[in-house]
Subunit: 230 residues, 2 copies
């Protein structure tokens, strides 16, 4: 049943998913669904959390940065298989019901082993979750359901016509940005994956995380001016 729901979401998006469609697909009266599930939202939650189920968790031994990199990649691949789910998964992350404690535990154990402590550990944890989910949610965001092709065409010509006088930097880099940059692109990450930018994102987040390690404070007090300022 949740599998059937997920298939429908893959076809029509979360917005376009209806209990009555699901009932039709299952060859049953719409109201029969309510014997198994409390509401449409619960159904969506269930289907969505199915996507997270098979993601292998990181191990606390080994290089913590490589473990996280692997986790981020696996999360992205899992979402790529059900891109319509990205929004809900990102916004609610295991929206309803049991948000697998093993998942949380694995990340905490990994970060602890890496040397994060106390408040820094909590921050590192939040950074990891946001990093894992943030980029992919944006990458997979789909264009307006109303008239995708019409929107894409209008958007593209709108972008092509930016004035070099008013927006020189944008005009200068436009060719490079058309299919590869958020906001500028007129397609979604399903049609045009942002592979290299994703890898850059992971690199940025993993490198940046070291700033939350206790050791970072010591290094900094040697007088280096860096992002910690202010």
């Amino acid at each position: 049943m949740l599998v059937a729901a997920l298939e429908l979401i893959d076809q029509n998006g979360v917005e376009g998913f209806s209990v009555r469609d699901l009932a039709r697909k299952l060859g049953v009266f719409p109201t029969a669904v309510y014997w198994y599930v409390e509401s449409r939202n619960a159904l969506i939650s269930g289907a969505v959390s199915h996507v997270m189920k098979d993601i292998r968790l990181p191990k606390a031994d080994g290089n913590w940065q490589e473990e996280l990199r692997g986790l981020f990649r696996r999360y992205r691949l899992a979402v790529r298989r059900h891109p319509n789910v990205a929004v809900v998964l990102g916004a609610q992350l295991v929206s309803n019901e049991s948000p697998d404690p093993a998942f949380i535990d694995a990340i905490l154990a990994l970060l602890e082993a890496a040397g994060f402590k106390d408040g820094g550990l909590v921050h590192a944890y939040n950074v990891v979750i946001a990093a894992m989910v943030g980029f992919v949610t944006m990458e997979m965001a789909s264009r307006p359901a109303d008239d995708p092709q019409g929107w894409a065409d209008a958007h593209e010509s709108h972008m092509q016509s930016v004035s070099a006088a008013d927006h020189p930097a944008l005009a200068r880099h436009l060719p490079r940005l058309m299919k590869k940059a958020f906001i500028v692109r007129s397609s979604s990450g399903i049609e045009h994956p942002l592979d290299t930018s994703f890898e850059a994102w992971v690199r940025v987040c993993l490198h940046g995380l070291t700033v939350l390690l206790p050791a970072a404070d010591a290094a900094k007090s040697k007088g280096a001016v860096d992002a910690k300022s202010r």
Copy 2:
């Protein structure tokens, strides 16, 4: 009209927003709305992009990291005023119609001045957008609309009952995580803002971004093993 729509979204969420409610609020027949706007989605887009309108853009002169930090903070404050909009704003970012070119241009100019070049510039741009939007979208994500209080209670007791044997790291840090950590928390960022984690996030992203600077490659080629490795 878009203002009235935004007020309704603030009250009932995007999901709960209806054209007929809006018409009621404006003292007009539901169908009259369609003289001004093409569809419910266009209405939501318009209302949502209103939230982005007043955000001050960064300047290309001055410290690029401080400029970005300011932008991230302003974005967050703008979304905090209309938290229900976070999901749509995050997923679609200026979902329909003109995605203000000045905004894109300002970020590109800033990154160029900071020394990002070619492909690294595109990556840095994508990282900046994802960083700005990612954390805040997650932070403001609201709990299931069905029965928020019931969900929160169930979630909290579910979390309280994690087995220390099965999930030692989680159990050990639970008190610290309850109101401050993604997934674990049972409230949203509106009730319990994640201020310090947000600042940590910004620090991580800004520090991490330096890894995409051309200078970073030079420094790296001296033999340091770091996050660039695969």
